[in-house]
Amino acid sequence: MPHLTYLEAIRQGIWEEMERDRSVFLLGEDIGSYGGAFNVTAGMLEKFGEDRVIDTPISESAIVGAAIGAALMGMRPVAEMQFMDFISCGFDQIVNMAAKIHYRWGAAVPMVIRGPSGAGVHGGPFHSQSNEMWFVHVPGLKVVAPSTAYDAKGLIKASIRDHNPVIFYEHKYLYRRIKEDVPEQDFVVPLGKAAVRREGADIALITYGAMVWTALEAADMLANEGISLEVVDLRTLLPYDERCVLSSVRKCSKVMLLHEDTRIGGLAGEIAALIAEKAFDDLDGPIVRVTAPDTPVPFSPPLEEYYLPNVQKIADAARQLAAY
């Protein structure tokens, strides 16, 4: 089985879908001969030609709008945002045009908008954001955030095959840092299904994206202290896997929510509300959140380090919760 990085797994997933289905094509800035700012689309132009790997002007709104038009015509466009920070320039097309067409007049809009997000690489306020919640609040969209190479391949393939607009958040910190065996044959990871990354008994730790790895590291450390964490990786943020969340909460009776996104309006708040509504009688302690603070993502390494959740912050919160 080939040993692939997270980035290579995404490339392979897109590659396979383009080979499998003529209606899949790519558009974005610098994705052709340059191969994309992070090299995700390297080699695609040579393989699939310039009709299917389209370099566009710097026009995020037109990129998204054109993807919508092509999707309406029966294609399955995959649009790249060079950084997910720039998705704000195409926001209107995504939330008002793409998300609502099927509800309004019944036409399918099968398209993927993908790109790198997240901090930890000293990218500063405009190359580090985790802005997934802008879209989790929009009915009609699906929002996906893989944490492993295997999932990255299986989820990009499922996203391309989905009949709805999917916003696909790749974590740039993981691009070349994780590597694992990924099957060469065709497989998908279904949207809307979470994964339990580590079984545990005392605290259900629910998270997604790069924070899954931080959570697993914290779980290792706490196991030595006799605190058993169950780590749930949401994988799809909209629609998220309510059943998996609740079953881990019921099992552990205590719950901690972790994300790299800022606190107010983050997914942790939404899931905390779900748990309070549907599993109140199963709680043996308060619902605890570990998130970034409500500030822009700062640039200087000490500032960024202070800003991001880490093993220490998780462990501190978990010890308190375990003792509650």
């Binding site: 309406l72 045009m97 007049w105 019944g106 099968p110």
Partner: protein
Amino acid sequence: MAEAQSTKSQNKIPAPDAQTLERMLYYLKLTREAETRIEQVLYRQGKIVGGVYVGRGQEAIGVGSAIQLLDGDVVLPSHRDFSSFLIRGFSLREIFCNWMARSNGPCRGRDNTLHIGDMSRGVIPIISHLGDTCPVACGVGMVLKWRQSGNVALVHFGEGTSSRGDVHEAMNMAAVMKLPVIFICNNNAYAYSTPTEKQYAIKDLDVRGAAYGMPGVKVDGNDVLAVYSTIGKALERARSGQGPSFVECKTFRMTGHSAHDSAEYVPKELFEQWKKKDPILRLQKVLLAQNVMNKKQIDILDGEIRKQVDEAIAGAEASPFPAGAEALQAVYCDADCWWKNTPLE
């Protein structure tokens, strides 16, 4: 679509034949009658709720352009292009059902006015964020270009909308990629209450075509024959792979922005002036002069149109409202698609 593909000539578009002239008069009059009922009768009776936007005085732009479209072409009309929907095959009853929020309108009560679309009829509707359809037209154009079918995408927007970034992004992209897209600006002099001198600092918008690298022309938007020939040239260019065009149609909005806007800000003389240029009367005069139709035939046509509109309204009024809980359906498109599995009527 019965029209034959136009000839290869580069600058002369053959004049429309008698049958096309009659159809144009029919669609102009039908549009006028239907919109008048919507704005001045049904809305005031409380039978239409929400916003009401019509294109009185501007009917020639939709008619003169959509009448030339072929199977496989796609039109993205503005809210003032009622006729485009009729010409692309939406029935009057379907359209009235949508205005009256019925469950068997094309939107099944989920969206209002002319926000109605159907890919099988080649119609993609606006959203209220006008201008968003311009980039969408580029995506349509990309696919049409790959297919090499000679088909085009035709997108309408107003002069107010032309100030939006999406329009600029789309015109630039279409020119760079040489897409078969025709950008039609229905310049009706007012964007809600804002006159053109507060909208842009140039006299005419047609010069913008050159700025992006595409032909830019202006035309009397109240002369359906002029619209026909100007759009015809742009269509021929696009169909033969030469890329996009920009057409500014000069017209005038003979109403307020919407039915609740009495347009006090428009000088009365302007209405008087433009009334003389009414596109329906102008075409009617041509038809009489050329003996395509006589006065009696036109009277019969008027009566027929009133009858058609009466029947469509009665049909819409007899149609059901959607059940409240249907609001939850079809947020997503899935294998068990609600739109497909819930046939109309």
